[in-house]
C-alpha cells in the first residue's frame, strides 16, 4: 500500500471513531434539546455521568483527524478550509459551547440558575456541532464545492457549501448521534440497574433507529440524484458497506428488542461506522470531489512516513490508555468505591489517631 493510502485509511478510521464515540456524546445533548430540557433529574444524571469521564478523550479524534489531514494532505485541507469556513466555524462554535457548557454545568453544583443556563448551552452546542460538521461532510461528498483540481476554491464563500446532500447530511448526523446516544444510554441504564430508565431509552432508541433506517434510504436517493460522481463510486464499491450497515442496523434493533444491549451497542456503532467507511470508499481515490485527487494533494513521502511512524508509536501508548479509561468507567465497579475518600474521612474522625499516619 502506498503511504498516502495508508494515511488516508488512518484518517478515515479516526473520523469513524469520532463519529461512533464523540457522536454519542453529542447525541446526549441532542436528547436534552429533544426533551426541551424537561427531562427529570434522574435521567439527566445518567446522561451526564455516562459522558463525563470520556467526552474529552472522544473529542480528540477530531483534532487528530484534523492534524493528520493538514499534515498529510495540506492542499486539500487548505481548499476545504476555504470552501467550508462557514459551516466549520459554526460547528466549532458548537464544539466550544458543548465542552464549556458541560464542564461548567458539572462544576456549578449548588447554583441552580447557572446549572440551567449551562445545561442549555451544552444542549444547543451538542446539536449545532454534528449539524454543521455533518453539513460540511455532506458538502464535500456532494462534489458541488467549486474546488479546482489545483486546489483553489472559486465558489461562493457564504453559500458554496449548501446543497441538498449537505442539508440532508446535517440532519442525518444529528439523528445518528441521537441514535447512538440512546442505544449507549440504554445499556448504561441497564448496567446501573435502573429498569425504568433502561426502558425509556430502549423505546427511544428503537424509534430513532427505525426512523434513521428510513432516512438512510432517502439518503441513498439523494446521493443518486444530487451527487452523480459519488453515486458512480457508490455503485462500484459502496454496496458491501450498505449491506453491513443494513445488517448491523437490524442487529442493533434486534438487540434492543430482545434486551441484548451489548450487542445493540456494538451493532449500532458498526451501523454508523460503516456509513462513513462506505462514503470514503465510494469517493476513493478522489480526496475532495470533483477533482482534487489523493495524488495531487499528498505531502512528500517522507512526511507521510513520518506521520505513519508517529501514529504507530502513538498507538502503542494510546491503546492501553484508552483500554484503561473505558475499563474504569464503562464497567460496573467491582470494588467498593471510596478508597481515597475513606482515607480522608477516617483521618478526620475525632480521636487521638487523627493526627498520625492513616494507613
Amino acid at each position: 500500500m502506498p503511504p498516502e493510502t495508508a494515511v488516508l485509511a488512518l484518517l478515515v478510521v479516526a473520523l469513524t471513531l469520532y463519529a461512533v464515540l464523540g457522536g454519542a456524546d453529542f447525541g446526549a445533548g441532542v436528547w436534552e434539546v429533544n426533551t426541551a430540557l424537561q427531562a427529570p433529574e434522574r435521567e439527566r444524571t445518567l446522561l451526564y455521568r455516562a459522558i463525563g469521564p470520556v467526552w474529552e478523550a472522544n473529542h480528540v479524534w477530531l483534532i487528530f483527524a484534523l492534524v493528520v489531514l493538514q499534515t498529510a494532505f495540506p492542499r486539500a485541507s487548505a481548499a476545504v478550509m476555504q470552501a467550508l469556513w462557514l459551516p466549520l466555524f459554526l460547528g466549532l462554535l458548537g464544539i466550544v459551547f458543548r465542552g464549556a457548557g458541560f464542564a461548567f454545568r458539572s462544576y456549578a453544583a449548588g447554583a441552580v440558575l447557572q446549572q440551567q443556563i449551562w445545561g442549555v448551552v451544552f444542549a444547543l452546542g451538542s446539536t449545532a456541532a454534528p449539524f454543521f460538521l455533518g453539513a460540511a461532510a455532506g458538502a464535500v461528498a456532494s462534489g458541488r464545492l467549486a474546488i479546482t483540481s489545483d486546489g483553489h476554491f472559486a465558489g461562493s464563500f457564504l453559500t458554496g457549501w449548501i446543497s441538498p446532500l449537505s442539508i440532508f447530511a446535517a440532519f442525518f448526523a444529528v439523528g445518528g448521534c441521537a441514535y447512538l446516544a440512546a442505544v449507549y444510554l440504554t445499556r448504561e441504564a441497564a448496567q446501573a440497574g435502573d429498569q425504568e430508565l433502561a426502558h425509556l431509552w430502549r423505546v427511544r432508541s428503537l424509534a430513532t433507529g427505525a426512523w434513521m433506517g428510513v432516512l438512510a434510504f432517502a439518503g441513498v436517493a439523494i446521493v443518486a440524484s444530487d451527487a452523480p460522481a459519488l453515486w458512480a463510486g457508490f455503485r462500484e464499491r459502496g454496496l458491501p458497506f450498505v449491506a453491513v450497515s443494513f445488517v448491523t442496523g437490524c442487529g442493533s434493533l434486534f438487540g434492543l428488542w430482545r434486551g441484548g444491549f451489548g450487542l445493540a451497542v456494538t451493532a449500532a456503532a458498526a451501523t454508523v461506522g460503516s456509513v462513513i467507511l462506505g462514503l470514503a470508499a465510494s469517493q476513493y481515490p478522489v480526496l475532495v470531489p470533483p477533482g482534487l485527487t489523493l495524488d495531487f494533494a499528498k505531502a512528500p513521502d517522507r512526511v507521510l512516513l513520518a506521520v505513519l511512524c508517529a501514529v504507530g508509536g502513538g498507538v502503542v501508548v494510546l491503546v492501553p490508555a484508552l483500554f484503561l479509561l473505558f475499563r474504569t468507567f464503562k464497567r460496573r465497579p467491582r470494588q467498593p468505591p471510596g478508597a481515597l475518600g475513606t482515607l480522608a474521612v477516617s483521618c478526620l474522625a475525632p480521636g487521638p489517631k487523627s493526627r498520625g499516619r492513616c494507613r
Binding site: A100, G313, G314, A321, T328, F329, G341, L343
Partner: protein, 449 residues
C-alpha cells in the same frame, strides 16, 4: 473588490483574531501544564502524611483544573481550525513541514484527555496510589504538548528542513523542521513560563484570601505550594530567557534589533532599559543605556557587532515600538518575580517560614497578574517581532491570509464567544472557591457517620 484588497482588509482582522484567541488560550494552556504539578504534589503529600488538608487541596484543585482543562481543550480546538481557516496558504504550503509536531501533539493531548478523565472521575474508583499515578501522565503529556506545539512556532521563527520550488514544498524533513535551531531555547522558555504562571497565579489567589482574613492552614499551604513552584522556576527563567535572546540574535537579528530598540549597526551596542523607539527618527528615546551591554549579552563580548534595524529594509521591520515595549515589560516583570522568589527563599531559609506581613501578601497577590503579563508580553515579542513574516524570510503574513469574506463577522462572533467562555470560567471558579473548605465538610460528614 479584488483579491489583494480583500487580503489587505482581512489581514488586520485575521491577526487580531489569532492574537486574541491565542492570547486567551496561552493562559489556560499554561495552567493546564502547570496546575497538575501542584495537584499531584498536594495529593502526594496527602498520601504520604495522611494529612487531610493536603487531600482537600488536591481534590479542590482537581475541580478547578477540570474547568480549566475543558476551556483549554475547546480554545485549543478553535486554534487548530483557525490555522487553516485564517491562514490557508500557510497551512496549504507548509502543513506538511510542520505537521509532525502537530500530529504528535495530538497524541499527547489524547493521552492527557484520557488520564484527565480517569483522574477526575476516578477519585472514588481507584486506590490512592493508583489515582496518584493516573495523574502522572497528565503532567508528562501536558509537558509534551507544550513542547510539540512550541516547536511548530519555533519553526516559523527559524524555518528549516524543506525545499520550496515554485511555491510548493517538494521535499521535507519533518524531524529537522521540528528540531530547528530555535526549538531548544524557545520550548524551554515556554514550559518554564507555564510553571511560573501556574505557581504564581495559584499563590496569588490564596494570598488574596489570606488578606481578606481566611488565614487558616489550608490557605497558607496552598499559597506556599504555588509560591514554591513559581519561585523555583523564576531564576531558571532568567537563564533560559538569556539563552532565548541569544538564539534570536542568531536566527532573527531583525527581531532582536526591534526588541532592543537598536537602530544602528555597530560594535559596543548598549543595553537599553525602558525607552520608546521612534521609527521615523530612528532613535530610541528616554532609555537608560548600559554601554556595550547588548553586545555582551548577545555575543559574550562588549565589542561585538550587533546588527541594527538599519541593516534591514524597512519593509522587513516589525512594529519596533510595540516589540521593544513588550520586551521591556516581559523582562521587567520577570526580574520583579525573581526578586519575589529571592525574598521568599531568604525568609524561608532565615525564619523557616514565609513572611506573614501585609506587604509580602500584597506582593504575592501582584505576582499572579504580573506573571500573566510577562507571558502575554513575551508572546507579543515572539509573534509581532516576526512580522511582516508568518514564516521568517519565507512567507509574508499578507500572502498567507484567507481571501474569504466575513472575517469581521467571524472576529466579532469569536469575541462574543470567548467573552462568554471567559466569564463562565471565572464564574464557575468563583463558585468553586466559595464552597466551604473541604476538611470542615468532611469532618461534618464523619461526625454524622
Amino acid at each position: 473588490m479584488n483579491a489583494t484588497a480583500v487580503a489587505e482588509g482581512n489581514l488586520l482582522l485575521a491577526r487580531s483574531q489569532m492574537a486574541f484567541t491565542l492570547g486567551f488560550h496561552i493562559v489556560v494552556a499554561c495552567l493546564g501544564v502547570g496546575f497538575p504539578v501542584l495537584m499531584l504534589i498536594a495529593e502526594g503529600l496527602a498520601i504520604r502524611t495522611g494529612d487531610p488538608t493536603w487531600y482537600a487541596l488536591a481534590r479542590r484543585w482537581s475541580k478547578s483544573f477540570a474547568v480549566l482543562f475543558a476551556v483549554g481543550a475547546v480554545s485549543g480546538t478553535v486554534l487548530s481550525f483557525e490555522l487553516g481557516l485564517l491562514w490557508p496558504s500557510f497551512m496549504g504550503t507548509f502543513g506538511a513541514v510542520i505537521g509532525l509536531p502537530f500530529t504528535l501533539e495530538g497524541f499527547a493531548f489524547f493521552l492527557e484527555a484520557i488520564f484527565v478523565g480517569i483522574y477526575l472521575y476516578g477519585w472514588d474508583r481507584l486506590s490512592p496510589r493508583a489515582h496518584w499515578w493516573a495523574g502522572v501522565p497528565i503532567v508528562l503529556s501536558g509537558l509534551a504538548s507544550a513542547w510539540f506545539v512550541v516547536t511548530a512556532n519555533a519553526w516559523m521563527n527559524s524555518p528549516e528542513g524543506f525545499v520550496l520550488t515554485g511555491g510548493v514544498v517538494t521535499s521535507a524533513d519533518p524531524l529537522r523542521a521540528m528540531l530547528n535551531q530555535a526549538t531548544p531555547a524557545q520550548t524551554a522558555h515556554m514550559i518554564v513560563a507555564a510553571y511560573m504562571v501556574s505557581g504564581f497565579l495559584v499563590a496569588s489567589v490564596y494570598a488574596g484570601s489570606r488578606l481578606r482574613g481566611r488565614n487558616g492552614v489550608y490557605h497558607r499551604r496552598a499559597m506556599a505550594l504555588g509560591l514554591t513552584l513559581g519561585a523555583v522556576f523564576a531564576p531558571i527563567q532568567i537563564v533560559v530567557g538569556d539563552l532565548s535572546a541569544k538564539m534570536v540574535a542568531r536566527t532573527q537579528p531583525v527581531k532582536l534589533a526591534a526588541m532592543e530598540g537598536q537602530f544602528r549597526t555597530g560594535p559596543h551596542a548598549p543595553l537599553r532599559i525602558g525607552g520608546l523607539p521612534d521609527e521615523v527618527t530612528g532613535q530610541t528615546n528616554f532609555a537608560l543605556e548600559i554601554p556595550g551591554g547588548l553586545s555582551w549579552l548577545a555575543y559574550g563580548e562588549s565589542s561585538a557587532v550587533v546588527r541594527g534595524l538599519d541593516s534591514f529594509p524597512t519593509t522587513d521591520w516589525p512594529p519596533v515600538a510595540l516589540v521593544h515595549v513588550a520586551f521591556q515589560l516581559m523582562v521587567g516583570t520577570g526580574v520583579a518575580l525573581f526578586a519575589l522568589a529571592v525574598w521568599s527563599a531568604w525568609a524561608a531559609w532565615r525564619r523557616r517560614a514565609l513572611p506573614d506581613g501585609r506587604g509580602f501578601l500584597l506582593a504575592v497577590v501582584a505576582a499572579g497578574p504580573l506573571a500573566v503579563l510577562a507571558l502575554e508580553a513575551g508572546w507579543v515579542v515572539t509573534e509581532v517581532g516576526r512580522q511582516p513574516w508568518i514564516v521568517q524570510g519565507v512567507m509574508r503574513t499578507t500572502e498567507a491570509v484567507t481571501r474569504a469574506p466575513g472575517i469581521g463577522v467571524l472576529f466579532t462572533a469569536t469575541l462574543a464567544t470567548y467573552s462568554l467562555l471567559g466569564a463562565g470560567a471565572v464564574l464557575i471558579l468563583r463558585l468553586l472557591a466559595r464552597e466551604p473548605v473541604p476538611p470542615a465538610r468532611l469532618e461534618a460528614t464523619s461526625h454524622a457517620a
